[in-house]
Symmetry: C2
Subunit: 474 residues, 2 copies
C-alpha cells in the first residue's frame, strides 16, 4: 500500500482544506460560544457540568465550508437525565435568546439547540459525562470519547487524508449515515484512515472487501466469525475502538458499500476530479421539466412516478424512511403483477413534506393474455378443478394440455397497465406511516410539471443512471 499523494490529490486538498481565516474564525467562535454557555450554566446554578467542543472542528478533520461546531454540555451522570428531562435546554435557550442570539430548537433523541455566533451555527447538545463509553446514558455520550480517540490517533497528515476521503465519499454520494444516504459517517471515515493509514490505502483495501467487511481497528476480537454472528445482517462491521459492542458501520447499505468499491476501483485506474466534492464548485441549478424529459427520451412513458405530500413537516430521517418503505412496496406490487422493473429509486425533498417514488419499467403495459399453467393431468383432483374453473370462463382461452402433460389456459391479465395497478391498489403499497398523505401517480411526463427544483435535479440524475464519475457525460 502506497501513501504517496498524487498531484491531483494535492490540488483537491488545497481546495478543501479550511483556510487560515476559516480556522481563526472557528477558533474564536468556539471560544465565545463556550464562554457564553458556561456563564448561562453558572447563572442556572449548574456547577458540575463540563462544556466541550466536539465535531469535525474539534478533530480538525473538517472540509472548507462544512464546519461542524458541536458544543457539548456534559452533565454529571448523577442527575444528568433528570436535568435533561426537566427541559434544561429550554432554559438555556431562553437565556441565550435574551442575550440577543438567534436560537433554533431541534429534536433528535433528545432536544438540542442551535445558536448563531459570528455567522456560524453552533449546535448545543446536552449529554452525560459518563466515566466509560460502553455505558452511555444518552445517544451522544460516546462523542467525547470518539473525539479524544481520533485526536490521539491522527497526525496532521492523516487529518488531510481524512479530508480527502470525506470529499471522495461526498462526491460519489456515500457520505453520511442518515437514511437518505445510508453511507459512511464522519467518524467511520476517520477510523478507516486510522486503520489503513491514508486515503489511497483505504481505496486499495476496498478492492478486496467483500460483505460482510470486518474491520477491528483496536483488535478487540480475535475471531472474525464472532463479529459476523454478533452483527448479523450488517454488510460492514467496524468495531468502535471506544465501545467494542458497537458497529460504527451499521448504517452502511449494500448499495453504498458497492458504490464505494466501484468508485475506488475506477479512481485508482484513472484519478479524476469528478470523484470529489469540492466545496462551492458547481451550484447545480434546477433543470427545466423539458430537459428532464429529454434525458429520459422514450423511457419517460415507461417511468412511473408517485408524488406524495405530507400534511405536516417531517424530519429528514422520518420522511426518507417512509419514502424507502413506499418504494419497496410499490416495486414489489409491480413485480408481483408481472411488470419488469429496470430501476427504482426514491427522493425526499429537503422541506420534509414531499417525496417521490420512481419505478422505471421495461414497459408500462403488458400483453393482454398470459399463459397460466395448471396441474399435471395425473393430479386428477386438481386437474378436475382447473378444467371446471376455466371451461366456463369465457374470457380465458383454453384449457388445453401442454407437451409435458400439464393443463394450461391463456387468461387475461387483471392489470395490463402499471398506472391502473398502482391506482387500484394504493392501500397495498402505501405504508401506514404515509396514511393521510396526498398521492398522485402518473408516468413521468404526466407529473413532471408538478415537481420542484431539487426534485427535477434528482430526476435528471436518475435519468442518466450512470453517475458522472462512472460515465463522464457533460
Amino acid at each position: 500500500m502506497s501513501c504517496v499523494r498524487l498531484r491531483i490529490e494535492e490540488e483537491i486538498l488545497a481546495e478543501i482544506k479550511p483556510s487560515r481565516l476559516e480556522r481563526e474564525k472557528a477558533r474564536y467562535t468556539a471560544e465565545k460560544a463556550v464562554n457564553l454557555v458556561k456563564r448561562v450554566l453558572q447563572d442556572l446554578g449548574i456547577r458540575d457540568a463540563r462544556v466541550t467542543i466536539e465535531g469535525s472542528y474539534a478533530k480538525d478533520t473538517w472540509i472548507r465550508g462544512n464546519l461542524d461546531l458541536d458544543l457539548f454540555i456534559l452533565l454529571h451522570p448523577r442527575n444528568c437525565l433528570e436535568l435533561i428531562e426537566s427541559s434544561i435546554i429550554d432554559k438555556i435557550a431562553s437565556r441565550l435568546s435574551a442575550a440577543g442570539f438567534a436560537i433554533e430548537m431541534r429534536y433528535a433523541q433528545h432536544p438540542y439547540l442551535r445558536m448563531l455566533v459570528n455567522g456560524i451555527w453552533v449546535e448545543i447538545v446536552p449529554g452525560c459525562a459518563i466515566p466509560n463509553p460502553d455505558t452511555p446514558l444518552t445517544a451522544v455520550d460516546r462523542t467525547p470519547f470518539h473525539r479524544r480517540y481520533v485526536v490521539s490517533k491522527t497526525t496532521p497528515e492523516m487529518r488531510d487524508e481524512i479530508r480527502l476521503l470525506k470529499s471522495f465519499m461526498k462526491g460519489i454520494g456515500v457520505y453520511g449515515a442518515e437514511i437518505a444516504v445510508q453511507g459512511f459517517s464522519g467518524y467511520l471515515v476517520e477510523l478507516l484512515v486510522i486503520n489503513y493509514g491514508c486515503f489511497r490505502s483505504v481505496l486499495e483495501a476496498a478492492q478486496s472487501w467483500r460483505p460482510p467487511v470486518v474491520i477491528d481497528v483496536e483488535g478487540h476480537y480475535h475471531d472474525r466469525r464472532v463479529l459476523v454472528k454478533k452483527f448479523k445482517d450488517a454488510v460492514m462491521i467496524v468495531v468502535d475502538p471506544v465501545d467494542p459492542d458497537r458497529n460504527v458501520a451499521a448504517a452502511v447499505s449494500r448499495q453504498s458499500l458497492a458504490r464505494f468499491i466501484v468508485a475506488s476501483m475506477l479512481y485508482l485506474r484513472e484519478p479524476r476530479r469528478d470523484f470529489f466534492h469540492i466545496p462551492g464548485r458547481k451550484e447545480v441549478h434546477a433543470p427545466a421539466p423539458g430537459s428532464v424529459l429529454a434525458v429520459y427520451g422514450h423511457r419517460a412513458g415507461n417511468t412511473v412516478v408517485a408524488l406524495l405530500e405530507s400534511p405536516r413537516r417531517l424530519s429528514p430521517d422520518n420522511i426518507w424512511g417512509i419514502a424507502k418503505r413506499t418504494l419497496r412496496a410499490a416495486r414489489r406490487l409491480l413485480e408481483r403483477w408481472g411488470f419488469s422493473v429496470i430501476d427504482a429509486a426514491a427522493y425526499a425533498s429537503e422541506d420534509g413534506q414531499r417525496f417521490i417514488v420512481l419505478v422505471e419499467l421495461e414497459s408500462r403495459t403488458l400483453p393482454l393474455l398470459q399463459l397460466h399453467l395448471g396441474p399435471p393431468a395425473w393430479s386428477t383432483d386438481n386437474a378436475q378443478r382447473f378444467v371446471e374453473k376455466y371451461r366456463s370462463d369465457e374470457t380465458a382461452v383454453g384449457p388445453w394440455i401442454t407437451e409435458d402433460g400439464r393443463l394450461a389456459v391463456a387468461r387475461r391479465r387483471k392489470y395490463t397497465d402499471a398506472l391502473e395497478l398502482l391506482h387500484s391498489r394504493v392501500d397495498e403499497w402505501l405504508p401506514g406511516s404515509a396514511k393521510g398523505f396526498r398521492v398522485q401517480v402518473s408516468t413521468l411526463p404526466g407529473v413532471v410539471d408538478k415537481l420542484q427544483g431539487d426534485e427535477l435535479a434528482w430526476l435528471l440524475e436518475t435519468g442518466y443512471k450512470a453517475p458522472g464519475w462512472m460515465k463522464p457525460r457533460r
Copy 2:
C-alpha cells in the same frame, strides 16, 4: 371397477360396430385375396410360405368403415430375408397387376403392396414365419403372435369394448402410434381392455396413472423398478405379452397420456358423444381464412406461423418428424431471446410436402430496453470489465449500482420483433433435414391466405385451443 355399459355407450357401439354386410364383404374379400396370393406364390415356385390375414379384421376389433385387411406372406425363416431382398414383392405385384388388380407399392421398413379387391384395399406384407416372437427377423414378424394372443384372450363382448375404447381414443386425438399422433396403437388398446376387462375400467384405471405408467399384462416381471429402468424415458410401459423385451407403449407421448387421463376424467363425470369418433358423422369442411382469423381475434397478430414446403413428397412419419423438430427449435430460439410462448404446435399436410409451425406469443414484440445485471461490485475484475464495456456504449443506459450491490445497465434488445428474429436466424431453427425447403415466416394474418383446407381446419382447432370435448362450443 364396473363393466356395465351405459346407454350412450350402447348407442355409440351400434354406430361403430361393423354391419353384417360389412362383415360379409370383408370375409369374402379376405378369402379371395388369400386365394389370389396363394396362387401367385405357387406360380413363383414358393412352396413353404404361409398366407394369413392379420389386422383388426382378423382380431374382430375394427370399427365400421375402418377395416384393416392385412394379408401376410410368412416365408420360411431359412430363406425369408433372401427372398424379401430379392424383391419378391415386386414379382408378386407384377403378377397381380397382370391379373387386372389395382396395385400400389409402399415402403416401410421393407416394401409391401396394396391391392384393391372388391373396393377394399388389402395390404400385402411379406414376413418371416419365425418360431418364437422374441427373435423376429423383420419388424412385422410378431404380428401373427399378437393376433393369436388377442384372439385367445378376448370374448365377443371384450371386442366391443375394444371398439369403444378405439372410438374414444380417436375422438380425443390419441389413437395411433405414428409421429403425427404419438398415441396408442390398436394393439395397445386391445391390451388395455384385456388387462382391465372393459372400456370403462380402463378409463377408471387411468385416474390413478402417473408417468411412468407400468402395465405387465402377463406378469413377466416381478418388480416394477426393473421395467422403469429397462425402458427409461418412456412415459408408459406396457410389456408385450408375446415378447417381454418390447414396450408396446413406446410411442405414447406425455401429452397423449395426459390427454387420455383428462378426457377419461371428464367422460366419467359427464359421458357425452363428443368424446367419440363416429365413422361418417361430420365431414369437417375447410373454414374460410376470415373465419380462422375471427377465432384468433387480437391474438392473430401475436401468432407467428412458418410455412415450409419440401421440394419432394415425404412419408408422413418423415415430414411430421421434421415438423416437430422445427417447432422445438423455433420455440427454443424465441424463448432464448425473451419472448413468452403461450402455445406452440405443428401440422404436416397429408400430401407430404408442406408443414406449418405455429407459435403463439404473449406479444409479437418486446420492449426496446431490458435490464441487464452485471457482477457484484466486490467481484472487482469482472466489475471493471463490465464498466469498461458499457461506459463507452452509447446505446446502453447506465451502468449503475443496484440496491443489492450489483452493476447493471439497461440495454437495447437485439430483437424486439419475433418475426425479425426468426427471419435473421433461420439457420438456427431450421433443422438439417429441412434444408432446401421453401420457408415463409409471418404472423397469422400474413400467411393465412396461402394455406390449404386441411391446414385451415387445423389452425381453427389450434385457435380454439380447448378441444371440443373439454369445452363444448359449437
